[in-house]
Structures are given as structure tokens and as C-alpha cells.
């Protein structure tokens, strides 16, 4: 079994608990996710599963990705044209020969031209295309790697296996990972919770100042990692230990208590909480 699932944040609302309390909740549309690759210790050095989320049309993806997902790739357009042209020529030639034979005229058939190298290559290419054994999957908008549940072996997971919200039980705890809303360049007060300067007593220009950033001649520099103004938000954030309030695999519905990083519609990774 997998350790996590992908989903999208739908929005927040509230539900009533068993004792009539209103519980603030986030509604997540999670899964279904399809296993697209299995990583094993023998081959990759670690154990994990790559899952795909949100299917998209084939034309919306790239050929390398299609190949990764086990699709039989069609020839490129130029290759296809070339091959078609060749086949048409062949047919025309055959027709000519037939007609020539019928009328009995002395239309000398020119020596059989061997198909040129490129066409030969195309023909063999079309005949024996290599593709990854197993099912054709996706394509998907999102591919992510998740770990397996502790104690689970990757042999039990099959390529193309489908996982949904039934991974999570009501009452369990989950961690939710997302990308926080971008706040742009922010000062120390908003970004790190600095107190700012005094508001009164003759202060000017010091209301939201960060204060001292270090000592004097020793060390003679500003220490690395000192909290200052800068870009805030739009970063990966993990919220731990959110209780699952509802989980409905039929509707891909997951309702967790509390808030979750990012805007509505943002991509989320929901993982089982590790104690």
C-alpha cells in the first residue's frame, strides 16, 4: 500500500461534529492515482512508487513522457509522410506493371529500385518498435513519487494499479504538503513576526524596521541565515497531523480538519502521518 496520494484543494467549509460543535474543515479532491513506475532497491537503490494524477489527452503531453508511460509511439509526422509517399509510389508502380502486362505493350519495367536507406530504417522502426512491457498508462498532468507504507513490499504493487481515498480512514491523521500562496517581497514584521519599532515617543521611520542585524567590528559581517526581509510564500509547506473527518472513495472526497497550504485548486500531497 502507498504512503500518500495526490489531490487538489477544493476549499474550506465547516461541518458539525457528533456533539454539535462546528469543525473547520478543508475539502480535498484526492486521487485516483495510477502507479506509473515502481522503484526497487535492486535497480534504483531505494524503494518507492511513482504515481500519476489527473489524466490528460495524449496530444497534451510529450513523446518522452508517453514512452515512459509505455505508449506505442506513432512515427513523427515527417516520417509518416515519407513512408506514405513511398507506399504510394510502390502502389503506382504495381498498377503500372499490371496495366503494362494487360495491354502487352513493351513498357519496359525499369530495374527494381531498392528502397533507400532511410525508408528501410523507417520500415524496420515501424515493425519492431520497442516499448516498455506492461499497460499503457495515462498520460497524466502530474507524476510524483511516494513512499510505500512501512513494511509493504514493492513487489505487491503492480504497474497501473489504482489507488484512491480508501487509503485513508476516518479518524486517522494525515500530513498535507502543498505550495503556499505567494506573498511577494515582505518585510521582517510580516515574514518573521518581528515586533517592529515603537509606534510613539518621537519615533520616525522605525515602525516596521528590523532592528540591529549584528555586532560591530567583531565579527565584522552579518551572520549567515539571519532573518531579514525577502520573498515570502510560494514555498513547499507541510502541515502535520490533520484529522480525517470524511473519506469517500466514490467521490474522491477527503475532508480534513483544519487548513491546508495553498490556494483553492492547488496541488496537494496527502501522506499518512507518522507518529
Amino acid at each position: 500500500m502507498l504512503n500518500g496520494l495526490l489531490g487538489r484543494k477544493v476549499g474550506m467549509t465547516q461541518v458539525f461534529g457528533p456533539d454539535g460543535n462546528a469543525i473547520p474543515v478543508t475539502v480535498i479532491e484526492a486521487g485516483p492515482c495510477i502507479v506509473t513506475q515502481i522503484k526497487t532497491t535492486a535497480r534504483d537503490g531505494y524503494e518507492a512508487v511513482q504515481i500519476g494524477f489527473e489524466p490528460i489527452p495524449v496530444k497534451r503531453t510529450t513523446r518522452p513522457l508517453l514512452g515512459h508511460l509505455g505508449h506505442r509511439l506513432p512515427l513523427l509526422r515527417a516520417q509518416r509522410r515519407r513512408l506514405q509517399q513511398y507506399q504510394q509510389e510502390q502502389r503506382a508502380k504495381a498498377r503500372d506493371q499490371e496495366e503494362g502486362a494487360k495491354s502487352g505493350s513493351a513498357a519496359q519495367t525499369s530495374e527494381e529500385k531498392k528502397p533507400d536507406k532511410q525508408i528501410q530504417k523507417l520500415l524496420t522502426l515501424q515493425e519492431n518498435r520497442q516499448r516498455r512491457p506492461g499497460p499503457e498508462l495515462g498520460p497524466f498532468r502530474v507524476l510524483r513519487e511516494v513512499k510505500l507504507e512501512e513494511g509493504a513490499s514493492p513487489d505487491k504493487v503492480e504497474l497501473g494499479a489504482r489507488f484512491d481515498v480508501s487509503l485513508f480512514k476516518v479518524g486517522e491523521f494525515v500530513d498535507v504538503i502543498g505550495t503556499s500562496k505567494g506573498k511577494g517581497f515582505q518585510g521582517g514584521v510580516k515574514r518573521h513576526g518581528f515586533a517592529g519599532g515603537p509606534k510613539t515617543h518621537g519615533q520616525s521611520d522605525r515602525h516596521r524596521a528590523p532592528g540591529s542585524i549584528g555586532s560591530g567590528t567583531t565579527p565584522g559581517r552579518v551572520l549567515k541565515g539571519l532573518r531579514m526581509a525577502g520573498h515570502m510564500g510560494n514555498a513547499r509547506v507541510t502541515v502535520k497531523r490533520l484529522r480525517v473527518i470524511q473519506a469517500d472513495p466514490e467521490r474522491n472526497l477527503l475532508v480534513v480538519k483544519g487548513s491546508v497550504p495553498g490556494a483553492n485548486g492547488g496541488l496537494l500531497m496527502i501522506r499518512k502521518h507518522k507518529r
Binding site: V10, V15, F16, G20, P55, R72, R251
Partner: protein, 154 residues
């Protein structure tokens, strides 16, 4: 890759609405500002639970969906005003009973807070009796008939 793919659409907001709808009560009456209501509120005391009545004037409606709340003002003992806000769809409300409607000219009746006694009264709208409704309908029908007769002249 040849066959056409079926790409399921995400449910999105419909999911949120479904979650909200499942939380909403269907038995709540329509409440307006100025209504006098009588509530039976379930109150937990430790393990025990009892029902407490609360009666007063609705002075405010706020929010929408599951988050719709209303504030009820009542004058408790010694003329002290008490306001309590309830979630309209809360399962803790055993019963919501609308006793009276009143004619009010604003949505939020905060002005009642500064008033007491006689001036804090609201003008009641009584629901029409059946006889009144019938009389009104008859009058309307008569008017319509008249209007049709005169329709050509106008």
C-alpha cells in the same frame, strides 16, 4: 493510444457544495430580522444534556450556506439585554419556532440596543387570516375584471 480516451472531469466546487449540503438542516424555518423566535437549545453539562429555551427578537442574520448565523436579543432579568448568536443549521438547536413577524426597515436591528421598554417594540405583521386572504383575492379578481373591460379604452 488509438481509442479515444475518457478523461474524467474533476468535481471541484461541486464537491464542496455537496459537503455543505449534507450538513444543512432541512427543517429550519425562514427567519427574518425582527422576527420573534423561541429556540430550544441543547446544552451539555459535563456528560448530561438538557434543553434550554431562549426567546427573543432576531436582530441580525449573517453568512450563507452552513455558516449562516442569526443573533437573538432578549431582555433577561433586571432589564439586562442578552444577545446570543446561533448557527442556523446547528444540530444543537432542537427547535426553532417563529412566534411573530415584525415590520422592520433595516436588516440589522442594532438600534434596539439603545432602546428599552416601550420604544424597543417592533410593529407586528400578523399573518393574514383565511377570510382576509379570500377577500383580498376577490378584490384583486374584481380589479382585473374591471381592467379587462376598460382595457380597450386605455
Amino acid at each position: 493510444m488509438a481509442e479515444k480516451q475518457e478523461i474524467p472531469k474533476p468535481a471541484g466546487r461541486a464537491l464542496l457544495e455537496a459537503v455543505e449540503r449534507s450538513q444543512m438542516r432541512k427543517d429550519v424555518p425562514e427567519i427574518k430580522s425582527g422576527d420573534t423566535v423561541r429556540l430550544l437549545v441543547r446544552i451539555g453539562e459535563g456528560k448530561d444534556e438538557r434543553v434550554q429555551p431562549f426567546e427573543g427578537v432576531v436582530i441580525r442574520l449573517h453568512g450563507g450556506g452552513v455558516n449562516r448565523t442569526f443573533t437573538v436579543r432578549r431582555i433577561a432579568a433586571h432589564g439586562i439585554g442578552v444577545e446570543r448568536t446561533f448557527l442556523l443549521h446547528s444540530p444543537r438547536l432542537e427547535k426553532i419556532e417563529v412566534l411573530r413577524h415584525a415590520r422592520v426597515r433595516r436588516k440589522q436591528l442594532y438600534y434596539l440596543r439603545e432602546r428599552s421598554g416601550k420604544s424597543a417594540r417592533l410593529k407586528e405583521i400578523r399573518p393574514m387570516r383565511k377570510a382576509e386572504i379570500a377577500a383580498r383575492e376577490a378584490a384583486a379578481a374584481a380589479r382585473e375584471a374591471l381592467g379587462e373591460e376598460r382595457g380597450g379604452e386605455e
